[in-house]
Amino acid sequence: MTAYRLSAGGLVDRTNRMDFKFDGRTMSGLSGDTLASALLANDQLLVGRSFKYHRPRGIVTAGPSEPNALVTIGQGSRSDPNTKATVAELYAGLDARSQNRWPSLKHDVGALNNLLSPFLSAGFYYKTFMWPAAFWEKVYEPIIRRAAGLGRAVLERDPETYEKVWAHCDLLVVGAGPTGLMAARTAGRAGLRVILADEDFRPGGSLLSETVEIDGMPAPAFAETLLAELRSLPNVTIMPRTTVFGWYDDNVFGAVERVQKHVAQPQAKLPVERLWRIVAKRALLATGAEERPLVFGGNDRPGVMMASAVSTYANRFGVASGKSVAIFTNGGTGYRTAADLAAQGIEIAVIIDSRADADDVAPTGTRVIRSGSVTDTKGKHRVSGIVVERSGFEDTIACDAVAMSGGWNPVIHLACQRGAKAVWSPELNSFLAPDVGNGLAVAGAAAGIYSLAACLSDGAGKAAAIIADLGFSAVSDVLPSVSGEIDPSFTALWYAPGAKAKAFVDFQNDVHVKDLGLALREGFGHVEHAKRYTTNGMATDQGKLSGINATGLLAAMQGISPADVGTTTFRPFYTPVAFGALAGTSRDEHAAPVRKSPLYNWAQKNGAVFVDSGLWYRPAWFARDGERTWRQSTDREVLNVRQNVGICDVSTLGKIEIFGRDAAEFLNRLYCNAFLKLPVGKARYGLMLREDGMVYDDGTTSRLSSEHFFMTTTTALAGGVMSHMEYCAQVLWPDLKVRFCSSTDQWAQMAIAGPKARHVVQALVEDDVSDAAFPFLAAQAVTLKGGLKGRLFRISFSGELAYELAVPAWFGEAVADAAMEEGRAHGICAYGLEALNVLRLEKGHVTHAEFDGRVTPDDAGFGRMVSAQKSDFIGKRLSTRYGLTAADRMQMVGLKPVEADKTFRAGAHLLREGAKPSTLNDQGYVSSAGFSPTLGHDIALAFLKSGRERYGERVVVWDKLGGTETVAEVCHPVFVDPGNAKLNS
C-alpha cells in the first residue's frame, strides 16, 4: 500500500461512495473523484502500457495533458477507447479497462519490445524491413500494423445521440480558474453577454487545489463565492464540462460539452455530447499553465508524477500519491507541493533541487539536496527509490512516489491555432502567446503570470479593457487579497544530468533523449523534422508535456536558444473530440434532408419502389402482384406506355418562373439555342452550356406571356442552374430587366404519356387538348374540371404523345388519383424512373449519363441547334476551341448487339473488332444501356470516336470488369419512331 485516501479534506463527497471497475476488479471511489484520483485512492499505480516499448506506466498528471493513464471506459457499443483517467469523472458503475497490453496489464508480452529497443530507435522503420524485397508487404508490414494503436474501437453503431448548438456572446472566457472567474465577474457586472467555459466538471481551476486564503476564505470557497455571483447574473452563462478545442476565423470557437459522459444511464432526450459553435465578439484565454516534466533517467516509472498533480490529488481529491514522496524540482513549485504534503502529514523523502542557490523554504525537517540530479529510479511496476547524484556523489533514496516539477508552460494552444507562432520568453523560460489582435486576449498564468494575486488582477484588468473596447462601462471593483502564496519561478532544466536509464521526453510514444540526439545527428534537427522522425509530440496528448522539452533539448544539443528552434505547429483540437460530437444529428438517415414530391403518397399507394435521386425519393418502378424483379415491372410499364398510356411523377424537375422586359433576352444569352422569338403558348427544348463550351444542363422553357417564362431543369441540376442564372443576372448582366424565382415546390407535375394520353388529359381539363388546339410543344395555363387552375405542356421525354400537367402541389395527389381513375378504361399505369429511362433510351433522348460535363452539343448530336446567329451566349466563344471541334472527338451513337440475345451495360468501353485492349486503342464508352422491351433486345447510347461516320460498323463492347465482350453494330441513336409520328399524333 503506497497511495491512499487521506482521512479528511478535499472536494469529494465522503458520504457518497461509488463502486467502479478497473480491469474487472471492483474498486470504490467518492463523488467528486476523477477516475485517476479514485484509482490512486485504491493504490492502483500501474494503469497503462506505452506505445512502442510497452513499458509499465502510471498516472502522471491530474488533467487533460495525461500521456499514460489512458483507459477504455464502457462496454460494447458504448466503449470509449483512449479516455484519460485524469479527466474522466467518476460515476457509480464506471467500467474501465487498461489498454495496449496482452494478456494483462501486469504481464504484457509486448514488453519484449523494450529489450529490442536498441533496434527500435527513432526512424528505424525507414532503414529496415527492406530485405528481402517481397517481405515488406507480406511479412513486416502486417506485423507492424497489428502492433498499432492503443485502445480498441469496436466500430459498432453508437446508441447515443449528439447535437450541435450555436451561441453568441460579447465575451467568451476560456477557463474558469482564478483569472477566468475574475474576468467573467468583471464583464458580467458590466452587463456583457458572457460565456465562461471550463473543461473540468467543477469550475474553479487551480483554486480547487490551492491552500492559500483569498479574502480570508479558503481558495475553493472563494471560487464558490464568485460562481454564485455569476450564476445570479442572467447575462452570464457558465459552461462546465466544456472544452474549447478550436479557434477559427472571425472569432468562432468550437467547444464540446460532455453532457452525459459522467452518468451510467444517459437520458434519451439529452445528447451525450454537444458541440458548441461560439461566436464571440471578444475572447479571453484564461487557460492557466501546464507544469513541465523533468527529463531524467527512469522518469517514466509508475509513481513519478507532476508535483502539481501530487498537490491536486492531495488537496482537491484527498488522496495521497504515496507514503513517502521524493520531490525533484527546478523551482518553487516543488516546495509548494512539499508544503501541501507536510500539511497532510505525508512524508517527504527528500527534495532534490537542481538549483544551487535557491532560497525556497522547505518544510521543517525536510532533507533538501541542492544542485542535485535524479539519474535513475528503482522499482518494477512502481517506483521504490531514486538514485540521486550531487557533485559526483551518488545516493539511493527510498520513496514510493516522485513529484517532479520542471517549471511551467502557459497554455497558449488556442492562440496559436491560426498561424501565429508562439514567442519565446527568456525571462520566463517559456513560450508565450503571440499577439493575435484584439479578438483574443490572454490573461493570467496563460500569459505567464504565475502569482495568484496577479492572476486575479489580470483577469479583472483584461476584462475591463474589453468592456471599454466594446463600449460598455465597467463597474468599479475591489481586488481580492491573497495570503500564503509561494513563488513558482524556476530555472530551465532541459535534461537532468547523469541519466543512467532512458530519460523520456514523450512518455506515450516512448521518445527518449537519445532519440532526439539521433534525429539531430541524422539531419532531422528542424523541430518539425525531429517530431516526424522520432514521433515526439504525436501521441494523444499532442506534445502538451513533451513539446517544450523537445524544443529545449534540441536547442541545448545545438547550443542555440529555444527561440531559434521554435515549436511545432499548434492545431485543433486542443484535446481530442469524438466524431459523433462533431457530426451532431446529421448522420445515418439524417445525413442529408429528404425531399418528397407532392406525388409521393400517390406513388406509394400505387406500389412504388423508391430510389433516392439527389435529395429526393422518386419511384423507380411500380411493382404489381406476381412481378418478382424490377425488370418485369419496368418492361410492363414501358410497353404499356408505348401501347396505352402511363403516368409518371416529374415534380422533381427544377421549375423557375422568369419575368421581365428582358426575360427573353436573358434566356437567349443563357441557352445556346435561340429563345428571343419563342411564341407565347409554346415550349422549347433548351441547351445550357458552361462558359467552357461543354453542356451544363437541358430542359424546356415555355413562354406563358410575353414577359413571363417558365423554365424546367433536370432534377439533378435544379439548384445549380438557379445559382448559375442568378450569377448571370446579378453579376454578368445586372442591367437586364429580369426577375425570377423557383416554383419547384409549388407544382405537382405529372407526365401523361402514350397513344391514349389525350383521352386521359381531356377527361381532366376543360381546355381543348386535341392536336389541332394543343399541338406538340404547346404550353399554357389550363383549368381543370371543377375549377382548379393548372398548367399543361405538350412535351415528351418518352417519345410518345405526351402531356405534362402541373397542378398546385397540395392537390397533386388528388389529381393524380383522378388521372388514374380516368385512365383505367385506357389501361393506364404508373411508371417509374426505370421505365422512363428505357423510354428515353429507345427514343435516343439524353440525360446526365450522356451530359457528363465533358460533352459538347455537337458530341451529342445537337450541333445544329447551337445558334450561329447570336452574338453572345454563355459558352459561345470557348466552344470553338480546336479540341472541342476536332474530328476525332467521341460522338453519340446508338448500339445494338449483333446477336440479339447478347447484352451490354453502361460503362463498357469500345474497341475496333480485333483490336487489342489498350488505352491507345480505346474507341469510346457506353453511356446508357438497357433492354428495350419494344425492340426485344438490348440497346445502348455510346460515345464513339468520330461515331456519326461509323453507322453500320461493328465494334466490340468491351466490359472486362464484368467479364464480357459483345459485338455490336453502330447505329443512329434514335431507336423508336425516328420520324416523330407518335410524338405528333
Binding site: V165, W166, H168, K269, H590, P598, A763, W810, F811, A814
Partner: protein, 184 residues
Amino acid sequence: MSKTYISRHPLESRIPADPGIRAVDHLEVPQRVAIATVMAAEGGDAFVAAALAAAGDLSLRFVAPGEWLALSQLDTPEILQRNLSLLLAEAAHIVDQSDGRVLLRLSGPNVRRILAKGIATDLHPNVFEVGTSSNVLCGHISVNLARTGENEFEVIVMRSFAESLFDDLKTMGREFDLSVGFST
C-alpha cells in the same frame, strides 16, 4: 364531369390528429396559409416595399432586396394573388407559393434554445427583434425565419423539405418536451 379536388397538408402524416397535451414549448402548424413571392420589377423596390407595408392585412417576410414573401392567414391563394396584383400592378411580379411553402410556428420560453440547435443567427431578444425576418439555414435546410412575438417565431419552409424540417425541429425540441399540433 366536374371534380372537387381535396388538398392535403404536407405534414398530415407527421402530425397526429389528437395533439395530446400542449407543452410550454409548442410547435404549431396552421392548416393553410396563402403565400406569394413578390418581386419588385427593376427599380420598383422602394415603391413595392412601401405599398406592401401599408397593406395592413398582409404579413411580410424579407427574402432578398426587392423580394418578399407576402402571407395571409385569411385570404385564399387566389385572393391574395389578386389583391397583390391590384396593389402593385406593373411594379412587381407575383408568384403564388401557397402550395410550395409550409409555415410552422414555434413558441415558448425555450424557443431560442431550440432554434439555436439549427440556426446560426443571433436570436437574442435585443438583436433579433419582433418583426424581423430573414432567410436562414436551419441545419441543412434553408428556411425563412421571422420573430412574431416575444417568444414566438415562424418558420416557412419549402414543401418538399417540410417533413425533414419538422423531424429536425422535433429533435431540437426533444430536450424541452416540445409538443406539436395543427392549429385549431
